[in-house]
């Protein structure tokens, strides 16, 4: 059974280098874990400028309710993916990802 391994910083580096497109099998496993564990407060992006600015937000009420927006915005989707990856890594590892 695949389990999260906080020592696999190589996977974080691989993701940062290419958030979209082909991933190694272990990175794909990690992403599948990360992306399906937020049964409440799922991270989403709210497009606050048409295809130009996205604000990080979390759904409410067991992912059934409107998003609660943060004050973090992005001007590209790759940066948003990396920020959420780091948040999820921290939530799973109990410590921040030591890669900026």
């Amino acid at each position: 059974m695949y389990r999260f391994d906080a020592s696999r910083l190589d996977l974080a580096r691989e993701y940062k280098a290419r958030p979209f497109g082909e991933h190694s099998p272990d990175l794909q496993y990690l992403l599948n874990l990360m992306r399906t564990r937020e049964t409440d407060g799922r991270h989403v992006l709210v497009m606050t400028q048409p295809h130009a600015q996205w604000t990080l937000a979390r759904l409410t009420n067991g992912n059934q309710g409107p998003p609660r927006l943060t004050n973090v915005t992005f001007d590209n989707l790759e940066a948003a993916e990396w920020a959420v990856f780091r948040l999820r890594w921290e939530a799973m590892a109990g410590a921040p990802l030591p890669i900026e």
């Binding site: 958030p19 979209f20 497109g21 082909e22 991933h23 794909q28 992403l31 599948n32 992306r35 399906t36 564990r37 937020e38 049964t39 407060g41 799922r42 991270h43 989403v44 992006l45 709210v46 497009m47 606050t48 400028q49 048409p50 295809h51 130009a52 996205w54 604000t55 990080l56 937000a57 979390r58 759904l59 992912n63 059934q64 309710g65 409107p66 998003p67 609660r68 927006l69 943060t70 004050n71 973090v72 989707l77 948003a80 993916e81 920020a83 959420v84 780091r86 948040l87 921290e90 939530a91 410590a95 921040p96 990802l97």
Partner: protein, 765 residues
């Protein structure tokens, strides 16, 4: 807490982007002609006024990386400021038998039904009766907060004391004897094919006096006031039921348990005929909104908000799958408290389509105090007077089926399927804030059953030139490309094609599809097939087209049914036994299960989807065939479409490939084939008979998009791209790119009357 989480300062708070004003609207039509009038229904709160503009759309609002958002103003008196008002959204389906003296004069009575509750214990829910929740008059058989059967009779409340089981058939009945005051309630859990143990409970009490009520008898709802002020004569209701109701009976005296059970058969026993006030048979008139009383009294009624019909009943034994063959086994109606088919709003302004308005894609652009909403519609050419050789077929059926898709936002699986974060905007948030808008056929009802009906007579958050790139919004990239072709084109919709068939297409030489024409009725398929056999030339500029069979409601234009049977990429499964459309009796599901695989029409059919990254096509040897030279005139590149606004490439999102076994013609030429798709591209499940794990784009050779050309009889031809992302590549480098160019090459050749010839023998696909 540290790292990024600390930097965010916890979970933030409500966004500055959150609107204080709610603005929503819809129109009474999606396709109009010059001379027609289209009514817009608007609801707006926290603002005194809203502004409206009618525009023709030439492109989508696609941000700084795409060509600019282009609209063309339409000069009309409706442009400008309008007073705002709030209009209600009352979700929930129910049925009504109009007030009748036979019901209003009842003193003693019995009421009985079979029910299959789906959310017992989730709030009080009405089953049947004349009960007024506000006046506490009449009688009502219902479920109480604990999920027990309960009878309310004026001030008397009698409960069964035992919770009903979800998704199990129960017999519920109650009687009142005016002479003795005796009130009796029965609740039976019925035996079925599982090992669940049947049980029965009877309770009784005495009512001293009962306030009668001469109102409509309702199923799956109770009265809360005499009128809701909306169009029509429907009462205002509450307490909507979730689950199935079958064979309700109403008698004019207090019957004992044996007699009540005897009423549940298909034929009323002779000794009980005189007691019957009404005996409703929901297996009659399944295609309609009528509920039929088979007693001599004919106390017929109507359904509201289209509860699901052609539902298997308590007596379904699995021997028959088609309700037309055994309607008596399909006597159940499934009601939901979140059904929404017609908001029944009043019209706020009407746009009279000018006689000289050109055919095209139009929208009412609404704005109020920072909130925005758009209502899309299409203008066809005047009747019998096409204005071009080219026609663009807007995928109105697909837009409707996707109307208010909430699952992509709420499901925890969306991100894994799409390989990227879910993006929403302010209009999508309306859907989260207002579940009463009703959802799409990609979603489930609150009780877990699949939503099989959808309509546009309610605000649609997905049919607009703004927001997420999907369906309508992507299709406007095709419109932009058409606009820049220098060739004239008309616009028609799926709804028009369904209604008018081949006659609608006959004047045109070229048909251009949208990016994702996924849903077709039999009438649409027949029209396309017939037109192509008569020389029509189709440019299928999308992916996953011609995939699902749909049925249009016979009386409600634009209302569509989808039964998601057996297989296919789908958000829910139809219950076994419920694969046939209630609107038409046609078998639902994939067209490839209906002898009309998409490959037979377009040469290609759905093979995979992935949303993280789009790839490119590589030219094949067939691209150098003399038959296809016109496609690549002036196009030197071997790699085609390694650019685009839809995830960076022309081949992606949902992709199709050839399959001779499913109907790709032997002489079809694959002129380009995509490669290098990512892990999120998974083989469609209808191609996986035995789970083998070799199903993602990294390892599975089946996963690619095919760009295909073939000639048809009578001088016609087909060009298919097999990719939704294709349209996102048109605007790259201000349309100076090989994708835009080669597609224009095809458009111009297809518009040329010179006939195509089917080769005597061609290489296999």
């Amino acid at each position: 807490m540290g790292g990024v989480q600390a930097a965010l300062g916890g979970d933030g708070g409500r966004a500055s982007a959150h609107r204080m004003t709610m603005l929503m609207a819809y129109a009474d039509a999606i396709s109009v002609r010059p001379g027609d009038t289209i009514g817009f229904k608007v609801s707006c709160d926290a603002a005194e006024h809203y502004n409206a503009r009618i525009v023709r759309l030439l492109s989508p609002e696609a941000g700084p990386m795409a060509p600019p958002f282009r609209t063309e103003p339409v000069d009309t008196p409706v442009n400008g400021r309008h007073p705002a008002r709030t209009q209600p959204l009352r979700a929930g389906s129910w049925a009504m038998v109009p007030a009748h003296p036979l019901i209003g004069s009842l003193r003693s009575f019995s009421i009985a039904a079979l029910i299959w509750p789906t959310l017992p214990g989730d709030g009080r829910q009405a089953i049947a009766g004349t009960w007024s929740e506000s006046a506490c008059t009449g009688f009502g058989l219902m479920l109480n907060e604990a999920g027990e059967a309960e009878l309310r009779l004026g001030g008397t409340v009698l409960r069964s004391g035992e919770k009903l089981l979800p998704r199990k058939w129960h017999f519920v009945a109650a009687s009142y004897d005016a002479a003795t005051g005796a009130v009796v309630l029965h609740q039976d859990l019925l035996a079925d094919k599982t090992m669940t143990v049947a049980s029965s409970v009877t309770r009784q009490t005495t009512a001293s006096s009962v306030a009668s009520r001469n109102g409509a008898l309702l199923f799956a709802a109770w009265h809360v006031a005499d009128s809701d002020g909306l169009a029509g004569d429907l009462p205002m209701v509450g307490g909507c039921f979730n689950g199935k109701i079958e064979r309700p009976r109403l008698a004019n005296r207090a019957l004992d348990r044996g007699a009540l059970l005897a009423l549940m058969g298909g034929t009323i026993p002779a000794g009980l005929v005189e007691t019957i006030v009404a005996s409703w048979d929901f297996s009659r008139d399944i295609e309609t909104e009528v509920i039929r009383d088979t007693s001599p009294n004919r106390l017929n009624g109507v359904t509201v908000n289209l509860p699901a019909r052609a539902m298997i009943g308590q007596n379904w034994d699995g021997s028959e799958m088609n309700w037309r063959h055994a309607p008596h086994q399909y006597g159940a109606i499934h009601f939901h408290d979140d059904d929404m088919i017609d908001a029944r709003w009043e019209t706020d302004f009407s746009f009279a389509v000018p006689a000289d308005l050109r055919s095209g894609c139009y929208a009412a652009m609404l704005e109020a105090a920072g909130a925005q909403f758009q209502v899309a519609f299409f203008v066809r050419p005047p009747k019998g007077r096409p204005t071009a050789d080219i026609v663009y077929l807007a995928s109105s059926a697909t837009y409707t089926v996707y109307c208010n898709n909430i699952g992509r936002i709420r499901s925890v699986m969306t991100e894994a399927v799409q390989g990227r974060l879910t993006v929403i905007d302010a209009i999508d948030i309306l859907l989260l804030e207002h579940p009463e808008l009703g959802y799409s056929t990609y979603d489930r009802h609150r009780d877990g059953s699949g939503i099989c009906y959808s309509s546009r007579l309610r605000p649609a958050t997905n049919i607009r030139p703004t927001g997420r790139f999907w369906n309508y919004c992507i299709d406007l990239f095709i419109v932009d490309w058409l606009e820049r072709s220098g060739l004239a084109y008309d616009v028609i919709t799926d709804d028009d094609l369904h209604a008018e068939g081949l006659d609608l297409l006959r004047p045109y030489r070229v048909l251009v599809t949208g990016s994702h024409p996924e849903y077709e009725s039999l009438q649409m398929m027949d029209a396309l097939d017939g037109w192509m056999r008569q020389g029509g030339r189709m440019m299928y500029l999308g992916g996953n087209g011609f995939y699902w069979r749909i049925a249009y409601h016979p009386m409600r234009p634009g209302t569509i049914e989808v039964r998601r049977s057996e297989d296919g990429t789908r958000a829910w499964d139809a219950e076994v036994g419920e694969y046939y459309h209630s609107f038409t009796g046609e078998y639902g599901g994939l067209w490839r299960r209906n002898n009309r695989a998409p490959q037979a029409l377009a040469g290609v059919g759905f093979i995979s989807q992935g949303f993280d990254h789009s790839s490119y096509y590589r030219r094949t040897d067939a691209a150098h065939d003399a038959r296809t030279a016109f496609i690549f005139d002036g196009v030197a590149e071997e790699i085609l479409g390694d650019f685009g606004i839809l995830q960076g490439g022309a081949a992606g999102l949902e992709i199709d490939c050839v399959d001779p076994m499913l109907g790709t013609p032997p002489h079809a030429l694959v002129v380009a084939r995509s490669e290098n798709h990512s892990n999120t591209y998974e083989l469609v499940n209808e191609e996986v008979r035995v789970a083998h794990g070799l199903t993602d784009g990294v390892i599975n050779q089946q996963i690619h998009a095919d760009m295909v050309f073939f000639e048809t009889q009578s001088g016609g031809a087909v060009f298919s791209t097999g990719s939704i992302a294709y349209a996102g590549s048109f605007g790259h480098r201000d349309f100076a790119n090989p994708i835009a160019r080669l597609t224009w090459n095809v458009l111009r050749r297809f518009a040329d009357p010179a006939p195509f010839s089917v080769p005597r023998s061609g290489p296999p696909a």
